[in-house]
Symmetry: C2
């Protein structure tokens, strides 16, 4: 299989970059003395997750019950389902546990904790429940300092569940882009999560795991004292949002979409390609950042970025590539777009958000150091 013979659009995965990203994160975690539990939602691909585990990851994080089922089927047993559980999903969780999967669920409220305990009692199952705490106000979680944390902890501990740990996710880190602010948020994430664990323990509630993480805060953390594990997802592929946050360079981005030039609107300077939002996703994560890449940064087929160009528009199966004059590293002089990028020529587009772009594809075409291409299956759904 030759990369230049793949039908376009298609998702291409640069294994050299991916392996370097995995190694970089794992080494950083080992320096900080914590376990690393990658978030499998980014890839939904067994081969990718196996590479993370081979590098030293301990267990995985998932965002859907289907991910838990698929990765358990692939032999992974230590799984944290990191979206607050609803009662309707407990039968599938129970089925996984009965088959030997050590899947953990999370709650962030008294009603949710009660629902897990009630279901566990009815089915004679001691669920492993982690409590989500909120350290940056961006999504779910209980305040680390209030009374609700202990109420939830006592309810779980007293009614037959195992309080396995506390976790938090400083997702607002995606909105930052300076080392100082990222380090500050990483410390806030750590401190809030450790405080939660300490308060539970002082109240006599066991709390073995203290789990923090997001890709930006994982890299920004200087100390993780009191933390037992870190979670991160998008670091495995990286993307333009992470480049703008400042935790990777364009040359670290392992995922791209191969596309073909299907036309030109010369008067407007537009190169039309067959990667629209169906191939790139509708994610416009760089829109509010320091450098807006539209729907992605085009590169030559060998991966050389076309700095100064962007996918400025997308319909379902059409992308519009054009020059944008905002990048200091711009390498483009005036070019004759029809001569430089003729009909049928191929380009590779780096994505804003690797989780969203990857999800548009059933296959990742993995390219190894010898330019060998192997199709790796992704799955989706719930």
């Amino acid at each position: 299989m030759d990369i230049n013979e793949l039908d376009t659009p298609c998702a291409v995965l640069d294994l050299f970059r991916m392996d370097r990203n995995i190694k970089r994160m794992q080494e950083h975690m080992e320096e900080l003395g914590v376990k690393f539990r990658p978030h499998a939602k980014t890839s939904k691909c067994v081969e990718v997750v196996n590479a993370q585990i081979a590098a030293g990851a301990r267990g995985i994080t998932v965002s859907t019950v289907k991910e838990a089922e698929a990765f358990f089927a692939a032999g992974i047993t230590d799984i944290l389902y990191a979206v607050c559980i609803s009662a309707a999903k407990l039968p599938r969780i129970l089925a996984l546990r009965r088959r030997g999967c050590n899947v953990k669920v999370i709650v962030d409220s008294v009603p949710a904790a009660r629902a897990v305990c009630d279901f566990g009692r009815r089915h004679n199952e001691r669920f492993d429940v982690w409590i989500e705490v909120d350290t940056d106000g961006h999504r779910s979680g209980i305040p680390p300092a209030g009374g609700e944390l202990l109420e939830v902890g006592r309810l779980l501990h007293g009614q037959g569940a195992r309080v396995g740990g506390v976790l938090t996710h400083a997702g607002s880190s995606y909105e930052l882009h300076t080392p100082e602010k990222l380090a500050g948020l990483a410390e806030r994430e750590r401190a809030g999560c450790v405080l939660s664990a300490t308060r539970l323990r002082e109240a006599g509630i066991p709390c073995e795991h203290v789990s923090v993480g997001s890709t930006p805060t994982a890299f920004a953390a200087g100390s993780l004292e009191g933390v037992t594990e870190v979670r991160a997802g998008v670091y495995v592929f990286f993307d333009l949002v992470m480049k703008n946050v400042g935790v990777c360079s364009v040359d670290d981005i392992a995922l791209s979409v191969m596309t073909t030039v299907i036309g030109h609107q010369k008067d407007k300077g537009w190169i039309m390609v067959d990667a629209g939002w169906m191939a790139m996703s509708r994610d416009r994560g760089t829109a509010g950042q320091t450098l807006d890449y539209g729907y992605g940064l085009p590169c030559l087929p060998d991966g050389t970025p076309l700095h100064g160009f962007a996918v400025i528009g997308a319909n379902q199966e059409h992308g519009i590539i054009s020059r944008v004059a905002t990048d200091a590293k711009s390498s483009t002089a005036d070019v004759d777009i029809e001569a430089e990028f003729p009909l049928g020529c191929r380009l590779r587009i780096l994505p804003n958000h690797a989780c969203a772009t990857g999800a548009q594809h059933d296959v990742l075409y993995a390219i190894d150091a010898n330019a060998g291409v192997t199709p790796w299956q992704r799955f989706r759904g719930w």
Copy 2:
């Protein structure tokens, strides 16, 4: 199968609304005296397309070769692949034609026309080629009035292809929201496409079909003199973007995402649900419109809209529903969100963009008039 027992998130299709939408468009087309060729990219679902054909549609439009292959396998032979063809895709088009599929391709440049003719000559195939013209400057197409149109027409006609017609797509209609402007654009779309056909015919180049369309201009058109067929896609499901454009009401939207409440952030007035951007898509098409619905408009499980609420934020598997105070039809007084929308309760979210939201799902759960639920498969990929 009971709608209230479906795992969430999942896509739900209201067949009463869908059938009404199909009927409305088909009747409008018959009043205008044109054939209707629905765009199958919206549903990628054989059952939906069969309903469109049963109502009177003549042939379909597709956005990928895979759609052509899938719908041909389902028995549909009159297929217009409405994205400019690249040479690398011609072998699959040829294979379809050799199996009896009357699939038509489009071009909008001399190099593309030449590539089709060259390939056709090598494989002894007379391709049916339509020429895309640009009537609103938003994407692809040749100007109707310039010399390139005749150059492309002569090349195709002289080098072994059949010039089957001209087509245009006034996609910029999505940016409008007044009847006057929509009618004006519909007339511009019609006039430009008819002009193109007339010029080709006067130059001795046959041009049987004159094909226009987008959902907004299809409804806005007062006369379609000289047009032979109309294409439209999203009308079959409708969505909040189309509601804002003014061509449907909220009560016409047939596609929704069923979700479950998984938590609350009471201080902020947030209802957390298990439909994030993976279920809704990243499409924020209403962001620049007269009323911004965030990632969608929540409804009760029976479909009653919660006017005054919106999905104000989305992570991969988390949605945040909150009150927004912008809708004149707001029906919400101050509510206790934990009491009104308790943990585990279900909501249905109407999407910004039905094409994008539908594409996030492998199954549409079709609900008939008796609340019977049938899973309809969608496909994806290229």
